[in-house]
């Protein structure tokens, strides 16, 4: 077996705790590990179903104007944006600054092999997003369009190459941000600010529609121009899969591969230098004893959580993006109104439904803001500190919950205030615009913590793993989405009264929150005490 395949095997089987699940001692523990993997599989299926629904709506719209051939390139372009977005946040800890860097680099393995294994691992994990988006799209496309046998090999070939360029661009930009910020004292803060600015730019440029020069007579070309604005290779992809153009296919594959190999070579060339830069921290060694500020134990614990949160870009970005997007959408609604947002979000009928579903819309963004889900896992090898200190476990847990509340409560209030004004809500709707998101915010903070108490993971090698690839984060995200979406489904599908659904949801959430508080203060604290 080659060194590359040995490294790949080692990296891939540690993903999602597969290796741990398969090698757990004891029937119960093993069954639990495997059960968790099955649960994650079920979650992936649920996401597939959601994407299927969304793409179906898109396809229906395109088919109605005779433009179904643009479905694949449009979704492909969106897929590239998603991969780009996630790749910007991931390189540190995956490509650079990973915990077993010292061990791997001391082994008799070429640096280029190590780099290749990390890049391939990144590619395979991003292929997951590509499968999630493109597979349902393919199924839907085949229902609307007639294809010949030539379509299938072209689709399969191009499918494998879709994420190549976005991964490398995202990783390159993400690494640049990390390298630039590493030179500064407040490197994490700078890292976070630069990443947020980049995220904003990606979203802005991928959704900016320049309608000033449109020739409405050539609608097809206009659509293609918009798609190309999102991702420049989309035009080649369109010609490949819709016109079975082999030249376009080869160009698409060739450009993707050439770019991939070039950037991979650059990464490999500067691999040691970048890792050295990232792992050596500048020490000023010029401290002089000064007057210290004291605080209560609960304040100290909360401050510790806040510092932890701000010190970890992936932790912050993974949780704050949702509320920021929610606030941005509320501001957009305030300035542009429901009709323009309907176009922006590509959600037909949005304008009419905005008032009844607004509380749930905000709640969805709030419910996806869960800092507690990885918070216990993130204690990692530091767990011994809080466990050996004279602080009740309850206090430690509540500090984590309070951090979450610091994010979701102001966001809920800001969104509630903006929407009350934008939608000219009466007092009942106003109450719901504030109360419902707050209830969801408390819910997700408590639920995330309980999930992490049930599924802690202290043996992570990178913070990214603890934050994004943990069972607790996965469950909290799925449940958050489900709990926020379920009342909207009842509202729209069963056509129940908006007030009834909203009040019932609020009542159920308040009850659940009270039960969870009780559990955390009693059993939850004991569970934390038993963690070692």
């Amino acid at each position: 077996m080659s060194n590359l395949s040995i490294l790949l095997k080692n990296q891939l089987r540690s993903y999602f705790g597969i290796n741990k699940a398969l090698h757990q001692r004891g029937g119960m523990a093993r069954a639990k590990g495997i059960g968790l993997l099955v649960l994650m599989g079920a979650g992936a299926i649920a996401i597939l179903a959601y994407i299927y629904l969304y793409v179906w709506l898109l396809a229906t719209g395109l088919a109605s104007v005779g433009m179904i051939e643009y479905l694949l390139p449009l979704v492909m372009a969106l897929c590239c944006v998603v991969v780009l977005y996630f790749s910007i946040m991931r390189p540190n800890g995956i490509l650079f600054g990973f915990k077993d860097y010292d061990l791997l680099m001391s082994l008799p393995i070429r640096t280029s092999t190590i780099v290749a294994s990390r890049i391939i691992t990144m590619y395979l994990s991003n292929l997951f997003f590509t499968v999630l988006l493109m597979l349902p799209t393919l199924v839907i496309y085949l229902q609307f369009a007639s294809v010949t046998w030539v379509f299938y090999p072209i689709f399969v070939l191009t499918f494998l190459f879709i994420p190549l360029i976005p991964i490398l661009i995202g990783s390159f930009v993400g690494s640049l941000v990390t390298i630039v910020s590493a030179r500064f004292r407040y490197k994490n803060a700078l890292n976070i600010l630069l990443t947020l600015a980049l995220m904003g730019a990606v979203i802005y440029f991928s959704t900016t529609l320049d309608t000033s020069e449109m020739d409405m007579g050539d609608f097809g070309a206009m659509v293609m121009e918009q798609i190309n604005g999102i991702y420049p290779l989309a035009g080649l992809y369109y010609r490949a899969v819709s016109n079975y153009d082999w030249l376009a296919t080869l160009l698409f594959l060739g450009i993707s591969l050439a770019f991939f190999l070039l950037v991979s070579f650059l990464f490999g060339w500067k691999f040691k230098a970048i890792n050295t830069l990232l792992t050596t921290t500048k020490a000023r060694s010029n401290f002089k004893m000064r007057s210290l500020k004291t605080a209560s134990p609960s304040s100290a614990l909360l401050r510790r959580e806040i510092r932890r949160y701000l010190s970890c870009p992936v932790y912050l970005m993974n949780t704050i993006t949702s509320v920021l997007m929610g606030i941005v959408l509320c501001v957009l609604l305030l300035f542009f109104g429901g009709e323009q947002l309907e176009t922006f979000l590509q959600l037909p009928g949005f304008a009419e439904m905005v008032l009844p579903i607004a509380p749930f819309g905000v709640s969805l963004f709030v419910a996806l803001t869960c800092t507690t889900a990885p918070s216990i896992s993130l204690e990692g090898k530091n767990l011994w500190i809080v466990r050996s200190l004279p602080v009740p476990s309850r206090s430690v847990l509540w500090a984590k919950i309070n951090l979450n509340l610091i994010l979701v409560v102001p966001a809920s209030l800001i969104c509630g205030g903006i929407l009350t004004f934008a939608l000219r809500a009466g007092w009942k709707d106003c109450l719901m615009l504030f109360a419902l998101p707050l209830a969801y915010g408390v819910f997700i903070a408590l639920f995330g913590l309980i999930t992490n108490l049930k599924f802690p993971n202290f043996n992570w090698k990178t913070e990214s793993r603890a934050v994004k690839q943990s069972m607790s984060t996965f469950i909290a995200t799925m449940v958050g989405m489900l709990v926020a979406a379920a009342p909207v489904v009842l509202l729209m599908v069963l056509e129940l009264s908006g007030t009834l659904v909203t009040l019932a949801t609020l009542g159920i959430l308040v009850l659940l929150n009270l039960l969870m508080v009780l559990w955390i203060n009693t059993k939850g604290a004991k569970v934390f005490d038993s963690l070692a």
Partner: protein, 237 residues
């Protein structure tokens, strides 16, 4: 100060990491806890400081059971693990301040003690730097300072001299003697028998989870060296 009564810790599968361990550490004792790798020293220590749950036996600190009132026990105890993984996202002074806040140490006492121990371990200048920039030895020193600033009644250390430079080791030994002179007690594990022989007034030797010998240093070693006694006990028990 510390009383371990029939402490037994079993893991899943029935394997006993520690089996029916009983010993007592009195105020003023510097108690060495010696054993081979995997003997159960760290398991015992982690149970003493309240990190590890256990079902059989009991551990009392200052007469209070760690099971019944862990907060009271932890309030008078300080723990330094063998490999102190500290909060890399904090600076040295932020970490010490955090510990100071948890133990509610007054501002004046905190500043005085941090300055004193910081100078003693020659780490004051680095207190403003992030812990991610600290070497292993520097983290060890900071962990020691964080343990000392709240003047514990019981200081529990797991391999405290590993990673410390000779000067820091000497400083730590002096501080340990000072602490015990004021009525505190020290319970620490070590592989360095030479240090245990010179520093401790009592030792306990553990093998495969069971206590094989305990008592004063004179009782244990007699006319031999502690190393000879240890090897004899470990090979022939």
């Amino acid at each position: 100060m510390l009383r371990i009564n029939h402490f037994t810790k079993s893991y899943k599968g029935g394997k006993k990491a520690v089996d029916d361990l009983s010993l007592q550490v009195l105020p003023g004792d510097i108690y060495g806890f010696i054993g081979h790798n995997g003997a159960g020293k760290t398991t015992t220590i982690r149970a003493v400081v309240g990190i590890l749950d256990f079902e059989q036996g009991d551990i009392e600190i200052n007469g209070i059971s760690i099971k019944k009132d862990p907060i009271a026990c932890k309030s008078v105890t300080a723990y330094i693990p063998d490999n102190p993984d500290l909060y890399e996202y904090l600076t040295g002074i932020q970490y010490l301040n955090f510990v100071g806040d948890i133990f509610r140490i007054s501002k004046e006492a905190r500043e005085e003690r941090i300055a004193r121990y910081g100078d003693a371990f020659e780490i004051t200048k680095s207190l403003g730097d992030p812990l991610s920039s600290y070497s292993h030895g520097m983290k060890q020193k900071l962990a020691i300072i964080s343990a000392l600033i709240h003047t514990p009644k019981l200081l529990v250390l797991d391999e405290p001299f590993v990673g410390l430079d000779p000067k820091a080791s000497h400083t730590l030994k002096e501080i340990m003697k000072e602490l015990c002179a004021t009525g505190s007690a020290i319970f620490f594990s070590t592989h360095v028998l030479d240090v245990a022989e010179k520093l401790c007034n009592k030792v306990a030797i553990i093998k495969d989870g069971r206590l094989v010998e305990s008592g004063t240093i004179e009782e244990i070693k007699g006319n031999s060296s502690l190393e000879d006694v240890f090897m004899e006990l470990i090979d022939h028990e």
